[in-house]
C-alpha cells in the first residue's frame, strides 16, 4: 500500500505529444466547443427576444406579479378576488394543481389497485373486462377523454331541479357536483389527536410483537388488536363528546343548491378524466410488478413451509413493491404534468391561470418561465424523494 501523497497520476514530463493528438486536449477542446455552441445559441435567442420585446414595447421583468389581476377564478382554496395580485392568482392556480394532483394520485392509485387485482383475478370475465377498460384508456388520448367528460358533465347533466342523486345527499347537475360535509366541531380536533395516539400505540405494539417473536419465536396475531388501537380512541372521543354528527347537506333550490360543498363541472371532469386514465397505467404497473416476482420465489417460500399469506407478505410483495416504485413514480409525475390539460376545459389550475396572466399582461416569457420552473421543481423533488426511497429499498447487488 502506498500513502496517498505518492499516488501521483502525473505523466512524466518527457512525453512528447502533439497537442491536437493528446486525449486530454481533445476532450477539453470538444467540450469547450459544445458549450460555446449551446451558450452561443441561447445568447442569440435571448438577444433576439430582448430586441423584439423592446421593439413591441412589451415590459420585462417580474414587476407585473404585484399588479391587480382583475380576473375571477371559480375554484380557489384560499380567499381570492379579482382585486388580488397576479402573484396571488398564480398561487391559487398552483394550489389547484396540487389539489387535483393530490386527489387524483390517491383516487387513481385506489382504482389502479382494483384494476390490477381484477386483471390478476382468477375470474375470467372480470379479467377480460378490466383488460378492455385498460386498453381503451391507454390507447386513446387523454385530452380527448377530457373533452368527453367535460361535455358529459356540462351538456348532458340535468338542471339542478332534476339533478341525479347517485348517493343520498350527493347531487350531480349542470352546476357541478354537490356533496355533504360534516359541520365543523372542536371535537374533531381531539379525535384527530386521539387517532394519532392510536396509530403511535399500534406502531409500538407492532415493534414489540416483532421483538417478542424474534426472542421467543412465537408469532402473535396482532392485526385485530392493532386495528382496535387505531380506531377505538377516536371513536371513544367521538361518543364521549356527545357524537356531533351534523352534516351540511346541499339542498336543491330553484336554480341552484344551497349548503354542502360543490365542485365545478370543469373540476369534476378534470379529476374524473385524470383518474380514469392514470388508473389504467397504474393497474398495469401493479399487475406487472407482482407477475415479475418469479414463480420460483413463491415455490421457494412454500418449500420453506411459509403459508400462502406469509409468502405474499414476506416474499412476493416486498419484491413487487421494489419493482413497482420507479414506474409508479413516473406515472404520478405524469398525472401532475397532465393536470395542465385543464387549460383545454378551463379549470383554473396553474397552467390555465398562467395562460390568462400571459394573455392579460403580454409577458408570456416570464409567465412560462414561472410555470416551467414550478413544474420542474415539483418533478425534480418527487423524483429525488423517490430515488432516495429507492436506494434505501434496493437489494444489495454486486
Amino acid at each position: 500500500m502506498v500513502p496517498a501523497d505518492q499516488r501521483a497520476p502525473a505523466s512524466p514530463p518527457k512525453r512528447q505529444v502533439a497537442p491536437w493528438n493528446d486525449e486530454r486536449v481533445r476532450s477539453l477542446a470538444f467540450q469547450s466547443l459544445t458549450l460555446a455552441l449551446v451558450v452561443g445559441l441561447l445568447a442569440y435567442l435571448a438577444l433576439n427576444a430582448a430586441d423584439n420585446l423592446s421593439r413591441q414595447g412589451i415590459a420585462t421583468g417580474f414587476g407585473f406579479l404585484g399588479r391587480e389581476a382583475s380576473f375571477a377564478i371559480t375554484t380557489a382554496l384560499i380567499p381570492y378576488s379579482p382585486a388580488d395580485t397576479y402573484a396571488r392568482a398564480l398561487l391559487v392556480g398552483l394550489l389547484n394543481t396540487l389539489l387535483v394532483a393530490g386527489l387524483g394520485l390517491v383516487l387513481a392509485t385506489l382504482l389502479g389497485l382494483a384494476l390490477g387485482l381484477a386483471r390478476l383475478s382468477a375470474n375470467w370475465l372480470l379479467g377480460r373486462l378490466a383488460l378492455v377498460y385498460v386498453e381503451i384508456m391507454r390507447n386513446t388520448p387523454l385530452v380527448l377523454q377530457l373533452f368527453l367528460w367535460w361535455d358529459l358533465l356540462r351538456l348532458s347533466t340535468p338542471p339542478p331541479r332534476e339533478a341525479w342523486k347517485p348517493l343520498p345527499g350527493v347531487y350531480i347537475s349542470l352546476r357541478g357536483v354537490f356533496f355533504p360535509v360534516p359541520v365543523y366541531d372542536p371535537l374533531y380536533l381531539w379525535m384527530g389527536a386521539a387517532l394519532a395516539l392510536g396509530v403511535a400505540a399500534a406502531a409500538l405494539l407492532g415493534v414489540w410483537g416483532r421483538r417478542r417473536q424474534a426472542r421467543t419465536g412465537r408469532a402473535l396475531r396482532l392485526g385485530l388488536p392493532g386495528l382496535a388501537l387505531i380506531l377505538l380512541p377516536p371513536a371513544i372521543v367521538f361518543f364521549a363528546g356527545g357524537a356531533p354528527h351534523l352534516l351540511d347537506v346541499p339542498h336543491p333550490t330553484r336554480f341552484d343548491f344551497s349548503g354542502g360543498r360543490s365542485i365545478t363541472p370543469e373540476f369534476a371532469a378534470l379529476l374524473a378524466g385524470l383518474v380514469a386514465y392514470t388508473a389504467a397505467f397504474i393497474g398495469e404497473i401493479l399487475r406487472g410488478s407482482i407477475l415479475s416476482v418469479r414463480s420460483g420465489q413463491s415455490e421457494a417460500a412454500a418449500a420453506l413451509g411459509l403459508t400462502r399469506g406469509q409468502a405474499l407478505r414476506l416474499i412476493v410483495l416486498p419484491q413487487a413493491i421494489r419493482v413497482a416504485i420507479p414506474p409508479l413514480t413516473s406515472e404520478y409525475l405524469n398525472l401532475a404534468k397532465n393536470s395542465s390539460l385543464a387549460v383545454a376545459i378551463g379549470f383554473p389550475e396553474l397552467f390555465s391561470v398562467t395562460n390568462t396572466v400571459a394573455n392579460q399582461t403580454g409577458q408570456a416569457i416570464e409567465a412560462m418561465a414561472i410555470v416551467c420552473a414550478t413544474y420542474l421543481a415539483i418533478s425534480l423533488s418527487i423524483s429525488l424523494l423517490m430515488n432516495l426511497y429507492n436506494r434505501s429499498m434496493a437489494p444489495v447487488e454486486r
Partner: protein
C-alpha cells in the same frame, strides 16, 4: 361433441365459479351485462341513425347519431383543405396506412423499409403542398385533420430520433460538460408538461427569432413535438446502452475501432435492437400527444371534430364525435402496442 361440452363445463367451473367470491362476481357481471348491454347495443346500432338531419332527431329515436359523422366526415378527416382537392390528403392516408402495414408485417427488409418511408414521406409532402403536376399549392395552415396528425407524428419521430441518439450518447459520455448538458436537457424536457412545450414553441418562439423570420405554425408544432419526444426516447436508448456489457466496448477498442465506428457499428445497433418494444411504447405515447395540438389552435383530427360539433344542429352528438376520434386513435395505438408485444415476446425468446 360430448367431450367438447365437458371441456366447456370444466372451463366454466375453473374460470368463472372456482370460489364463492368468483361465482358472485360472475353473477354480478352477468347481471350488469343483462341490464346494460341491450341499451348500449340499441343505442349504438339498433336505434342509431345514419340519416337524421340533426341531433334532436336522433334524441327522439334514442339512438346514436352516426349521421353527424357522415354529415361532417370530410371536414373531420381533412378539415379546411380545399374541398375539390381532398383526394390528395385521401391518398396521403392510404400511403400512411400502407407504410404502417409494411412496417408491422415485416415484409420488407430494414433497408427497403427505410427507403419506402423516405419515398412515402416525399410523396406525402408533394401531395400536400402541391404546386406541381397541375396540383394547386396548398398552404400548411390548411393541412388539417387526420393527415396533419399523421404528419406531425411521423415527422416528429423522424426528427427526434437522431436527436435522441445524440442525447443518450451524451448522457453516457465520459466528457463532463457533454454529460451535464445532456442531463439538463433531458430532465428539463421531461419535467415540464408537453402543453407547456407547445405554448413555448407556438406562442414564444416568434419572440426569439430575428424580425422578419417566420416559421409556419405546423413546423413550430413539429419542432416542439420532436424536441419533446427526443428527451423520452433518449432515456429509452440510454437503457439499451446501459444493458451492453463492457466487454463489447473493450473488444471494439482492442480491434482499433475509433469512437464513431465503435458506436455506430457495435454499440448502437445492439442498444437499439433490445429497446425496440420500449421505443414503440414511446411512439404510442407520442402519437396520442399529437392530440394536444388541438388546444393550441392547430386543426388536427380532434380540433376538426370540435369545430364540427360547434354546428348547432349537432351540438349534442359529441359522444359520437369523440367515440369516432377515439376509435381512430385506438386503431393506430392498439396495433402499435400489439406489434410491440409481439416483438417483446420474440426478443424474450431469443435472449433465453
Amino acid at each position: 361433441m360430448k367431450a367438447g361440452a365437458a371441456r366447456a363445463l370444466r372451463w366454466t367451473r375453473v374460470n368463472l365459479f372456482s370460489t364463492p367470491l368468483n361465482a358472485a362476481l360472475t353473477l354480478f357481471i352477468a347481471y350488469l351485462a343483462v341490464r346494460l348491454l341491450p341499451g348500449t347495443v340499441g343505442w349504438a346500432v339498433l336505434r342509431a341513425s345514419l340519416t337524421a338531419a340533426d341531433d334532436r332527431a336522433c334524441a327522439a329515436s334514442g339512438g346514436a347519431c352516426w349521421a353527424f359523422i357522415l354529415d361532417w366526415s370530410r371536414f373531420i378527416l381533412f378539415g379546411r383543405f380545399p374541398y375539390a382537392q381532398q383526394w390528395r390528403p385521401a391518398i396521403v392516408l392510404v400511403i400512411f396506412a400502407a407504410l404502417l402495414l409494411a412496417s408491422f408485417s415485416r415484409l420488407l427488409p430494414g433497408r427497403w423499409l427505410a427507403l419506402a418511408w423516405a419515398g412515402g414521406l416525399g410523396a406525402v409532402a408533394l401531395l400536400m403542398w402541391g404546386g406541381v403536376l397541375g396540383m394547386p399549392y396548398v398552404d400548411t395552415a390548411l393541412w388539417n385533420g387526420l393527415p396533419l396528425t399523421l404528419i406531425l407524428a411521423a415527422g416528429g419521430l423522424g426528427i427526434s430520433f437522431p436527436l435522441a441518439l445524440l442525447l443518450a450518447l451524451g448522457r453516457r459520455s465520459s466528457l463532463p460538460a457533454v454529460r451535464t448538458l445532456s442531463i439538463v436537457y433531458i430532465e428539463g424536457a421531461r419535467g415540464v408538461p408537453f402543453i407547456a412545450w407547445l405554448f413555448l414553441m407556438l406562442v414564444l418562439l416568434p419572440l426569439f427569432l430575428p424580425p422578419g423570420v417566420a416559421i409556419a405554425k405546423l413546423w413550430r408544432a413539429e419542432i416542439a413535438f420532436a424536441l419533446f419526444i427526443a428527451a423520452y426516447l433518449a432515456e429509452v436508448v440510454r437503457g439499451g446502452l446501459q444493458a451492453i456489457p463492457r466487454g463489447q466496448y473493450e473488444a471494439a477498442d482492442a480491434l482499433g475501432l475509433g469512437y464513431l465506428h465503435k458506436t455506430a457499428l457495435v454499440i448502437l445497433p445492439q442498444a437499439l435492437a433490445v429497446t425496440i418494444p420500449a421505443q414503440v411504447n414511446t411512439f404510442i405515447g407520442a402519437f396520442k400527444d399529437t392530440a394536444l395540438i388541438s388546444i393550441v389552435g392547430l386543426f388536427d383530427l380532434l380540433q376538426d371534430t370540435n369545430t364540427a360539433l360547434n354546428d348547432p344542429a349537432w351540438r349534442m352528438a359529441y359522444v359520437e364525435g369523440y367515440v369516432f376520434v377515439g376509435a381512430v386513435y385506438f386503431v393506430f395505438c392498439y396495433s402499435m402496442s400489439l406489434y410491440s408485444r409481439r416483438l417483446e415476446r420474440r426478443l424474450g425468446r431469443e435472449r433465453r
